[in-house]
Assembly symmetry: none
Homo-oligomer: 165 residues x 2
């Protein structure tokens, strides 16, 4: 463990396409963030808060809890993984680009095709106006049940780095 001690019972089960019929305790092990939670998390991340301090983490957790059970550790891990992944992505992209440039003069060796990725929830840099002052309603992204995500995003000014619109 790193710096977090508050583990919470992961009542996490909500997700999964193969619906784990809640009868007879499927015993969901790891937390699966719901789409709304992901949206919030990504928004925060993209707003510039990539490494929230403990208090912020708690606040974020409370936000997320309205959309499903989640613990501080989950949030902490999420940011940690996100940061790591982001960085690696960048590096990889840079390396690939460099390699592409390097391979000049040679025959067509490998054309990097930007690796088409199709994931359930779009992954690449979601900006939902958390740090940026966008007035556009966020609901365009989700109109599924409980689209109160926007309420959070619009009505919450988290203590750190937010001049306010």
């Amino acid at each position: 463990m790193d710096q977090e001690g508050s583990s919470q019972s992961p009542t996490g089960q909500g997700r999964s396409p193969s619906a784990p019929s809640n009868s007879t305790a499927p015993a969901r092990s790891r937390w699966s963030p719901k789409p709304e939670q992901i949206l919030i998390l990504e928004s925060i991340f993209n707003s510039g808060i990539v490494n929230p301090p403990k208090d912020e983490t708690v606040r974020i957790r409370k936000m997320l809890e309205q959309f499903g059970a989640v613990g501080d550790t989950n949030v902490f891990y999420w940011f940690q993984n996100r940061r790591s992944r982001s960085r690696r992505r960048q590096r990889q992209l840079q390396t690939a680009t460099a390699a592409a440039v390097t391979s000049r003069g040679a025959e067509d060796q490998q054309h990097m095709t930007t690796m088409s990725m199709h994931h359930p929830y779009s992954n690449n840099e979601i900006n939902l106006g958390f740090g940026s002052c966008s007035n556009s309603s966020a609901n365009f992204f989700f109109n599924d049940p409980s689209s109160q995500v926007s309420s959070f995003l619009l009505g919450h000014s988290s203590s750190s780095s937010n001049g306010g619109c």
Copy 2:
């Protein structure tokens, strides 16, 4: 969890099982290792290198690239999945065996899929003399175009544990 890598264009169809004459081919989704690449990867894995460090991964990728487009990430994922699967397989086998032993006195229990798999390429532990010093030419396995696989396997001492025959 990915490691560095340059993902590039998957050459569409990996191998044509029954319909080599594809009209609408692309379907660039995920990388499909070619037989030669699989051979190399398995050989390396069976030679004892189950978790190559980054530099080794790069080297391996360069090897594989001669047989088709591949990125470091692909190689890394391959080894990771291979390890994981190997381990899981072992565990399941162990568990099954233990269960069988435990159920003494009882009738034939419940053998879950007795693993009578008949696969195209025999799957269990291919050894092509990567770590072991086999003088037998490797081509017996593949005589398809560009059977330079053996060249690699015989003429490559990858910095790690190879006293030499």
